[in-house]
Each structure stands twice: as structure tokens, then as C-alpha cells.
Point group: none
């Protein structure tokens, strides 16, 4: 055996468990975004993290668990983003709603890496109940807030719309535009996508988000 080969190439790094897990999750996201979920292997993630093969099982027990926690990470990050946006926005319902729409096309949320991860997991959600469940939890909370805001605006403005349907429509619009941004990065920019979504808002609630001319 080659004695030289046995020496570790890099200094043994010692990080806290939390840091290591975060590091590996980020490497997983990069790997999914670069190569796709089906080509993301333990080796590709480990290499992306510049760590050894066995380390993932050490911290996550299995590949499945790593992927689950990665999805959870992305979901939580998104959740945090719109929580923050609500905090930082004005107090009125229209202001809050606009803030939520804006978050969806924010640099942080709407970057290609993240979109790729969302659709990778959605694509597999059919065969993985766990994925569906993680997403469902997120969706429920988000939609509640969304339809709550819509309900208030509808009441104020005397609109005829069903608040829950509007909420579905709004989130569907974002998700659909994300797909276009992912598949079609040349023809559509996040800014344009935001414009389309805001246009939707203006059309549903013209008194609150009214255009200059119509």
C-alpha cells in the first residue's frame, strides 16, 4: 500500500454537528442544481462539500434522510423569507400581499439553484409521500395567510371573488412562473415575472393595486 496516499490531503477539519449538516445540505442543493436529483449521488454531494464519502451517513444516516432534510431546509428558508417580508412591509393588507408576491421573485428565493431544487422534489413527490407531506405543511400555512389577506381586501373593496380561490391563483401563478424561469431563463427574467404577478394583483383588486390607465 502507498503510505503517502494514506495521508489526508486536507487538514482534518472539525466542525460542529450543526455546521457540518448545513454544509452538506448546501452541497446537496448545489449538486441537485448542477446535475439534477437523479444524478445526485452520495459521492457527488461529498465531492461538492470536499469531504469524504462516509460522512453523509455519519450525519444523516441515509441518503433519504439527507434529501428530506434538504427539502426541509429549502422549505424553511422560504418560510422565513415571507415571514420577514411580512414583518418589514406596511401594516395594511394590500401592502402585505404585495410584499408576499415580491418575495417570490426576490434574488434570494428565486435563484436558479433553489428553483431547480423545488422542481426536483416536486417531480419526485409522487413516489415519496414524505416529500409531499413536507411541502403540504408549508403550503397550508402559506395559503392560510394568503387567503386571510385576500379576504380582508375583498371585504374592504367589496369584491366578489372567493378569497381562497384568489389565494390558489396567486400561488399557482408564482409556481408557474418559476417553472418558466427554470426552463426558459432567456426569454423571461425574474423582474418580468414579478411584473406579470403584480399585473395579476392589479387585475383582481383594481381599487387597491390599480393601474394608471386601463
Amino acid at each position: 500500500m502507498n503510505e503517502i496516499a494514506k495521508r489526508p490531503r486536507t487538514k482534518r477539519r472539525t466542525a460542529s454537528k450543526q455546521e457540518r449538516k448545513a454544509q452538506l445540505i448546501k452541497a446537496t442543493i448545489r449538486s441537485i442544481a448542477k446535475h439534477g436529483l437523479s444524478v445526485t449521488t452520495m459521492a457527488s454531494v461529498a465531492k461538492e462539500a470536499r469531504l469524504s464519502q462516509g460522512i453523509i451517513n455519519l450525519h444523516f444516516q441515509s441518503k433519504d434522510r439527507l434529501l428530506e432534510e434538504t427539502l426541509r431546509y429549502v422549505v424553511d428558508e422560504y418560510r422565513l423569507a415571507w415571514f420577514k417580508a411580512l414583518d418589514n412591509s406596511g401594516e395594511s393588507a394590500p401592502e402585505k400581499l404585495a410584499a408576499l408576491v415580491r418575495v417570490d421573485f426576490d434574488k434570494q428565493v428565486c435563484q436558479r439553484n433553489k428553483l431547480a431544487v423545488w422542481f426536483a422534489f416536486w417531480g419526485e413527490s409522487r413516489s415519496r409521500p414524505t416529500y409531499r407531506q413536507i411541502c403540504a405543511e408549508r403550503d397550508k400555512e402559506y395559503r392560510q395567510v394568503l387567503s386571510g389577506l385576500c379576504a380582508e381586501i375583498i371585504r374592504q373593496g367589496g369584491y366578489a371573488s372567493n378569497p381562497e380561490h384568489v389565494a390558489y391563483g396567486l400561488s399557482a401563478m408564482s409556481e408557474g412562473l418559476w417553472l418558466d424561469l427554470l426552463l426558459n431563463p432567456v426569454d423571461l427574467t425574474p423582474e418580468q415575472a414579478l411584473g406579470i404577478s403584480m399585473g395579476y394583483l392589479q387585475d383582481i383588486f383594481p381599487q387597491h393595486f390599480g393601474r394608471a390607465t386601463k
Copy 2:
């Protein structure tokens, strides 16, 4: 050998070849819908088609080719559906636009098997340029028709909207609602989804799809 007798045999073989490929593609769709793309193996497809292992390589050369042709099949089927819908609809632009929206939530198009396949491929599209390209071709043509119709309606109604943005918005809405139907089959029905999409139309073009009250 009898030259005359040979022809029909050759013809029959060729015909059967096409049938076999279609049979295998349908089996692939079922397998993806049942188990997911990542669990769909040559064996699972062959079993679904009640045929032997080696037959797929015989007809498609490789798994990659099978999946590509499966995607193409789904794409073509969708294309055919909206072509037909345009043919069967009234002549006016609003009628045609409504027909296109209706197609997206048609029993045939919007069945769970098909949705699962769409998202399975979209989820992998990042790592497979071929998938992206197949989808891109379809999208381009579809969006051209869509924005053409929107442009006409906008001209007629004197709306201020950008026709291409509206077209993006409309197709994004459908795709986003498909995702909700896929992930969340209990809370949302295709009929409701159609209602939401039609509501969008009414909001954008109130003169043409106007609601009773607003």
C-alpha cells in the same frame, strides 16, 4: 421466395413495430405515474407492458431514448388536444382563448397520470438539455398562439396589458394549478382550478369575460 407474399409481411412487421413502441411508451407513463421517474426501470416498464426485459433496447436502443420519446408523446398529445380545441371552438378570439384554458383542465389532459409525468420530466429538465428542448419547442408554439389571441382581444377591447405577459401569466397559472392538483388532490378539484383560471380571464379582460357583478 414469393416477392408478392413478402410485402404484406414486411408491412405488418413495420406496423407492429409502431404498436410496440406505443405500447411501451404507455407502459412508461403508467410506471412513472405509479412509482415515479426515479423508480422507473427498464424492468418496471417491461413488466407494466407484460413484455420481456430486452424488448425496450430492441425498440428504443436505450433507456434515455425511451424517456425522450415518452416525453415527446405527452407533449404531442397535449399539442393535439389544444389544436382540436381551437378547431372545435367558435371563431372569435375570446372563444378560442376560453377553449385553450378549458383544455388545460380537461379530463384527458389533466389526469393525475399525465400531470405526474409532466412534473417528473420538468424536475429532471435541469440536467437533461434534451428534455428542456422538447418542452421549449412546445412552449414556443403554444405561447405564440396564446399571445396572438391575447393581442387581438387587447386590441379589440383597448386594454393596456402586454399580450405576451398575459400569455405567460395564463400558462403559468395553468402549470401552477396543475402542481396544486398533483400535490394536493383533496383540497382542489380540476373544476375549481378551471374556475380559478377562468376568473383570471374575467379579471384581465372584463369586457369579454365579464362577471355578473364586480
Copy 3:
């Protein structure tokens, strides 16, 4: 890729499923005898059988199943051996009993490969209930026959011994001598071991197996 390397080195052999399984079981026995159970890997068995890695899972689904069937094979072979010995022996109980003892040190049964396999599985039986169960079935039937014969001899000779205890003693003696033959092949030959076992018989049932002098 190296095109030449892709060509199979040996002619594709096509054997019946039964033959292949038997071939693999025999390879497993050889591997256990040569290297031990803990060093017997899928690769070592496949190499011993001069076949490819994947073939074991093709025929046995898992390594566990292969090992179970290997144990069963050895157990059945032993069972067949003493069945045959009973058939070929004289009709009297002492003759049959002597035949059973003789089988245990027969060339076929008492070869090192087989002994190694027995003890390899016995050594693991603690942690593998399946192994214990397979052995238990064999033991029960064997001991019934053995104690039946002993009971008859005891009745005939008016001995005071407990037939079941004698049966335990006889089989224990064989197993213990097998261990010595396995660990200590230089100091003890199967012939000597047989002599020791037959001596035991003579001592228990002196009227039936009596020595010349005592």
C-alpha cells in the same frame, strides 16, 4: 471505453436455473471452506463459480438467501446420506445403528469442506434464528431415528440406559469428533474417530457390539 474489454471473456453459458443454483451453492461451500464464512463475499463466491458478480442476486435475491440455501443443501445432503445408509444396512437395530455411526465418518460426509461449513454455520447460529431452525429440523428427525434404534436395542439387551440420552451422547460424540478433525487434522484421522465412536457403542451396548476382550 475499451471496446475489447466489453467482450465477454468466456462464452456465454446458459444453464438451467437449477443447475446454476447448485453451481453457486457448491462455490459457496468451497469459499466457506477455503476462507471462512466471514470472508466469504458475493465476489468470492462468484469468482469461485467463475461467474459475474450480479448472478447471485439474480438467482438468490440476497446473500442471506444464498447462505440459507447453502446450509439447507448441506443439511439435506447429510440427511440423504444417513437415509441411504439405513437402506443399505442390515435389518437389525444394531446393524442400523452401526451404519448411522459409520456414515458420520464417511469420506463424503466427513470431508473437511463440509465440516468447515457445519461449524461456520453453527458459529453464527446464535445470531441467526434461521440457521438454528434449519439445523433444529434436521436434528429432531435424526435424533428420533437414533433414539428409536437405541430404545429397541436397550429393550432387547435389557440395558438400563435412557435411549434418548444415549442418542444425545452418540450424536454429541460425532459432532465433537468432527470438531477435533476440523481443528486438529494431523493428530486425528476419520478412521481413528470412527474407531472411537464405535468403541463408545461397544461400551454402551457390550452384548451387541461387544469387544473381543475387555
Copy 4:
């Protein structure tokens, strides 16, 4: 540095080192008995000893060494047991022989943990010359004593038996009964096994261990 102060510290360290090794060996025995040799890992032993992973390599350099020393420990313990039994028994050869047989089914020696360890190592002895050697040393000494006693009894009683063969037979009987006790703990108790072994003695040397009736 204070030379005087150093001594005790060194001494204490050495003492504690011995204790640690014993602690680890005992944990190894428990692990083998509980889960089997093949499932006994460095981790399982360390956990059983309630110590950390790396400690085994610290004290034993490698897993192989740990297992070797564990086998040696069991072998030595057995050796000590029959030494003691000889010491405590009467002076006559038959008394000593009976004492040796009794030891084999003593609570201490014939407990399931220990039997499991014996057979675990015997099962692997084929592939590990070291194991065989450790056992062989023990066997040689034991058998010498055993055949010495047998020789004396044979001389005294004018028996025709070969003392070495009787010694082989006796130890084989014990080992075989151990196997039955290990595999078949319900049907056979150590007391019954002792009875069977003592019955053997009575049959070989009827004048010295004679039954009441025969």
C-alpha cells in the same frame, strides 16, 4: 520532576490499563454472545463497554488483536477452571477424571455466553490460523492430562481401551453436548448433559464408575 512522585502514577496507569483491557474483553464476550461474531463491531464492543470508539485501537491496536485476546481469555479461564477442579478433587485418578468431566458442565464454564463464544471462534478457526493455534495449545495440555488419568485407570482396571482414544472421546463428548446446549437449550439441560457424560464414564470404566445395575 519528582522521580518519587512519578512511580505511583506510572504504576496506576499500568494497572488501569490492565483493567481497561479486561473490561473490553468482557464487553467483547457479551457482544459475541448477544449478536454473534459477525455482527460484533468495534462500535458494538465499545458501546457494550460504555466507552468511546477509538479506545479499542488504543489498547489493542486492531480488531484482530482484540478478538485473539478475547479467545485467549476464554481459553485461559477454562484452563484455570479445570486446574482448580483438579486441585479441589480427591487424589485418585477416577476422582480427578470425574472432576474434569464435571467442570465442563459447571455453571461458570457452561453458560450460554461462553458456549456462544467458543463456537463463534471455532466457526472462524478455519480461516484464522491464529485461532486454531490458540485452541490447539489448550487442547494439547488438556488432552495430556486427560489421557494420563485414563491411562492410569486403564492400568489399574485392566481395561483394554486406548487411553488417548478415550481422552479424545471424552472431550469430544463434552464439545458435542455443548453444541446441543447451545442450539437446543430447551430440550437439554446442563444437568442432563452431565448425566450423559458421566454415563459414558461409567460405560468405559464400569469398575470405577460402575452403575448400580447394568
